[in-house]
Every structure is written in C-alpha cells, then in structure tokens.
C-alpha cells in the first residue's frame, strides 16, 4: 500500500484551560489514501469539524502526530504549510465564505492570486473552473446575486482552481435544499471519480455519508466504532444515544 495522503495517529485537541478546559478531540487515528472519498460523521459538538481542521493543517493537534504524505506536519515550515493549503488542499464550506461584492470570477481566482499567478493565467484558469461547474455565464456577476446552489458551485470552482489533491468539504449541502444539494453532491463525487481528487466530507447527513467509500463516526471526541454506514432518516442523527 502506498503512503497515505494524510495519516492521523491518536490526535487530540482541547480548547481553554483549567475549569474551562474542553477536550474537543480525545485521540482519533485514521489513514486517508489518495483518491478515496471519506465521510466524517457526527453531531454538532462531536469534534468532527475539529478533526477536519487538524487534517487540513488549519490547526495544530495538542497530542498525537499527523503525517502528510509520510512527513510529520510539525516538522513542516510555515511556508510549506501555506503551500500545501494553497495548492494541495481545496476547501468547500457550508457558509460559502464568498466575498459578497466581488465578482464570481474574482472569488474563484483568490487562491491563484494568493499563489502569485499572473492575471492572464488567473483569468484563464478561473474561467476553466467556472466552465466545469457551468457557471461561466455568471463570471461577471457579483457573488451576492447568486442563488444558494450557484454559490456552492462557485465555492467548488474556487476549491478546484488550483487542481488540489484533496478537497475538504464542511457540510457542503447544509445550506441547500434537497434538489440543489443532490446536484452539488454529484459534482463532488464526479470530481472524486473522474479526477482522482481525495474527498473528505464532514457531515451529519447520513445519506450523504453513505455515498462515500468509507465513514468515520465521531462522538464526544472519539471514533465511535459501533456505528455503521447504514443510511437512515435525515434527522436521525439529531437524537442522543447510540445508533446500532
């Protein structure tokens, strides 16, 4: 087996100190192979978002080690971490995080701008990404004027524009209606199948999780191995207690 893209070994993270100390993640291990799609499933407050942030190098674990293509993340220099975030990772967020008054194209090429790509190439690659998501005709529109589904497609275009190896998606369908959500899901899984992009989805939606190759269930900061990937009703995850 080849070296996993990301490998977490017993990683933990806590916030605050003293009486206010809160252990968000108490020790989770997982390996993510290149090209696979994986769902991190849990209720809000379970620690699933913290796990994703640690995997995406947006935060440093307090305990355990994280290997990025076999290299300890702690040993990576700030510059190298920034390069990874910029070129190897793409992010899709529930709240979109689009700059409202900037054009769709400007939003999409932001990672290229940060990378220092010259304007002409930026525009060409940005348009190509928008083309892929059938948003080319909206390139000049202000981001604020897009519908929810269009916004999420613009966000995916932004995540794609640097040809990343891994896309992190935090509740990608959370703000969308069922039909639009399904379209966005299809786009993400198509990218995973056709372009070989590793897909890491954080969700509490079991149906979405079931479409992934593999599911990791997180509960109270630990991996819950009693869970299974059987799809059930959408609101099922909202109830407390174990799901057998």
């Amino acid at each position: 087996m080849s070296v996993p893209v990301l490998s977490a070994q017993n990683i933990g993270k806590s916030y605050g100190s003293g009486a206010n100390r809160f252990d968000a993640l108490k020790g989770v291990s997982l390996d993510i192979a290149a090209g696979e799609s994986i769902a991190i499933v849990g209720k809000s407050g379970s620690g699933k978002s913290t796990l994703m942030h640690l995997l995406a190098l947006l935060d440093d674990p307090d305990s355990g080690t994280l290997l990025v293509e076999g290299t300890d993340a702690k040993k990576l220099k700030g510059k190298e971490v920034n390069r990874l975030r910029n070129q190897d990772f793409g992010f899709v967020f529930q709240q979109f995080f689009l700059t409202a008054n900037a054009s769709v194209l400007d939003n999409v090429v932001l990672p290229l701008k940060i990378a220092g790509v010259p304007p002409r190439e930026r525009k060409a690659r940005g348009m190509a990404a928008l083309e892929q998501l059938e948003l080319a005709d909206k390139a000049k529109n202000k981001a604020i004027n897009l519908s929810g589904g269009q916004k999420q497609r613009a966000v995916i275009a932004r995540a794609l524009v640097n040809n990343p190896k891994v896309i992190f998606a935090d509740e990608p369908t959370g703000n969308l209606d069922t039909a639009t959500g399904a379209v966005v899901e299809d786009i993400l899984f198509a990218l995973n199948k056709n372009n070989g992009i590793t897909l890491i989805i954080v969700t509490h939606d079991i149906e979405l999780a079931a479409r992934c190759d593999r599911q990791i269930f997180i509960r109270d900061g630990l991996e819950d191995t009693t869970e299974s990937g059987i799809p059930r009703k959408r609101h099922a995850g909202a109830h407390a207690g174990a799901h057998a």
């Binding site: 920034n82 700059t99 932001l110």
Partner: protein, 433 residues
Amino acid sequence: MKFIDIVKTAIANSFRSKVRTGLTVIAIFIGAFTLTITSGIGTGVTSYIDTQVTAIGAADVLTISKAADSTSSATEGPAAYDPSKATTVSLGNGSRPGTTIQALTAKDITAIGKTTGILRVDPSVRVTPDYIEYDGNGKFELIVNAAATLTTADLAAGAQLDNSSTTDEVLLPTTYLKNLGFADAKAAIGKTVSIGITDYTGVQQEAKATVIGVQNETILGVGAGLNQHLTDGLQAIQVTGAPAGASDSYATATALFDASSTAAEITAIKDDLATQGYASQTVADTIGSFQTVINVIIGVLNAFAVIALIAAGFGIINTLLMSVQERTREIGLMKAMGMNGGRVYTLFSTEAVFIGFLGSALGALAAVGVGSVVSNILADGVFSALPGLQVVQFAPSSIAIIIGVVMLIAFLAGTLPARSAARQNPIDALRYE
C-alpha cells in the same frame, strides 16, 4: 500574493466601505490642507523677504546703541542720577511714543571707534526734511528711510545709493513718481529735485539732489533714501544756528568693520562692545530676528496641522480596526488558502497608506488651488502696496514631503489593525458566525 495584487486589493478594499473611508479621508484632508497652506505661507513670506534683502549690501555694518540700563529694573526703581551720563533720547521712528534709551555722546563715539576691529564709526543723524519738489510741480512731504543706505534696494530703475560719492543722491520709491510729475521710473533718473528743510532757527532752506535710482516699495521701511553726502548736507542745514553741543547726542551709530570678518570675529567685536556697555546688531541680525518671528508663527501653525493629522491617525486606526472586524472571515479564508501573516499585514498596511495618500494628495491639491487663488486676490487687494508679494507659494518638494509624512503617519496608524489582522487564526475566523 504579488505586491501589485496586494496594492490593487488594498485599494479595492478601501473603497468597499465608502462612507467610512470617506470620513477618514476628510480628517486627513483637513490636516494635510492646513499643513500645505502653512508651509506655502512660510515659503511665500520667506522668499519675499529674501528678494527684499537679497545681497544685503552693508554686511560690514554694525548698528550700535547704548545697552539698556541694567540698574533701572522694574523692581528696584530708577537708578540714581549720574551727571556724566548723556540724556535719554527718543528712538523715534518705529518705537512707542515716549520710549527712550540712553543717548550716545561724542565720548561714546570715540570709545566705539577705538574698539578693536571697528574701522570707522559714524553717529546716525536723523534729518527731517519738510518737502520735496521737482520742476515746480508742487511740494510734497518727504519721508526719509534711514535704513536705505544699509540695504541693497530692489530697483525699478537707476543705480544704488553711493555713500562715498560727493554728489547729493536721492533714491525715490515708485509711489513718489506720479505726484512729483515723472512719467515713469526711467524718466526720473538723473533729474534734480529740491529738498526743503528748516534750520534750528526756524528758517526754511532748500538743497538740491540728483535722483540716482527708483526703488520698488519694500517692507523694510517706506520712504526715500539719501546718500551720506546728502544726509550730512541736510544735517548741516538742520543744526545751523544751534547752540554748541545741542546736537551732540545720538540714538544710534553705525560702525564699519572688515567685510571679510568671520562670524567668530564679528561676535568678538560685539562682545567687546557689550562689555563697554554698547548693544550692537548687524543687518543680518536684524533681518534674522524678523525671520525668526515668522518661522515661529509658521511653526506654531504647523504644530496645529500636525495635531490634526495625529487625530486623523486615530481615525485611520478606527477605520481599519472596524475593517478587520468586518473582514474576519475573509482574512481567515485567505489564511486558510495559504496566505501568510506577513502578506495579510502588508495588505492592511497598504490600505492605511492608501487612505493616507488619498487624504493628503487631495488636501495638498485643494490647498494649492485655494492658496493660489487667495494669494492672487490678496496680492491685488490687501498687499497691493507690496509689489511682488505672493503670500502663499508652493514648493513641489515640500508638498512631496507633506504627502510622504502623512503616508508615514497613516502607515504607523495602520500597524495596530494590520497586526491584529495578521494574527487572525483561520479556524477562529471561519468559525465566527
């Protein structure tokens, strides 16, 4: 992120919240406007004085008077009468009525003459002619500018006064020409005018003098200039019939020293005179003290402008802190996408510098516009008696310095918000709802 993209993004960001940026720009505008105007006035007045006194003709002349009597201080009352001291004389022209100083006597003149470094000393005589007349065109009052021989006049025509000449020379201001009946400045040169003066016994006598030059109006005393020969002649008429010793006291004396003296040598002469009880001033001292006053006024005005700018600096801090707050997510997103803290810092600093540039450039531009218009209006109105005075003048270099300084203040003001932006943690920023 490339620098050019940072600059472009910073400029675009500063226009995102137009009202807020606009108000900050106005604050900076006021400061920069004031600073530009005051520096313009400084440049204008200084350059006017410089043209007025360019090539101070008599750099080798000291004006000497008795030093103020130290014994008659405000707390101890007047000093005891000393019959060996000369009576006090009024300083006359320019001083408060009734103001007196100790007069210089013939003995003092001799003592000054013996001081090392002094080549020659002449008591300053003040002649008070009654009228001036040319070619029977009517008699007009003649005001004598006693300082005329000490400075090089700003000539409209003719030549400077020659103190070593044995002819009687007069230097007329341009304002005298029309009344006396001259067509223009050139027409007056070489013509003979009559000067009337009353002697000690009350009899009016007349002396002839040649117009050697015509001078533009200056701020260093209005009136006509007379050369030494003419002054001596008029003085002789003035004291005709006076009892011996009546004219033997002078308010001031002018002493010549070697023109090649160094500043240290001049100071030595002045110190020497001071120990003997005489106050002395070179022409440069007189003009220097004049310029010092103007510089102090300009300095005070500049200080107010700088205070305004510092207040504007806090406006920048406020604007940018709000901006950082508002854009927390955006900053977090950029950092999540691999933008390093340094670039984020540069982005916000650039925005501050741009706001500073906008305010100062607009302020300076408006100041140049308003200043030029006002200056022209004043030159034709209030200051029309002072030809050549442009009260507000702008030096490109000082405007560039002002804009530069304002941008620096803006940069310093932007440091705090830019640092807080650079320190944003992408996680905290993205979790921020």
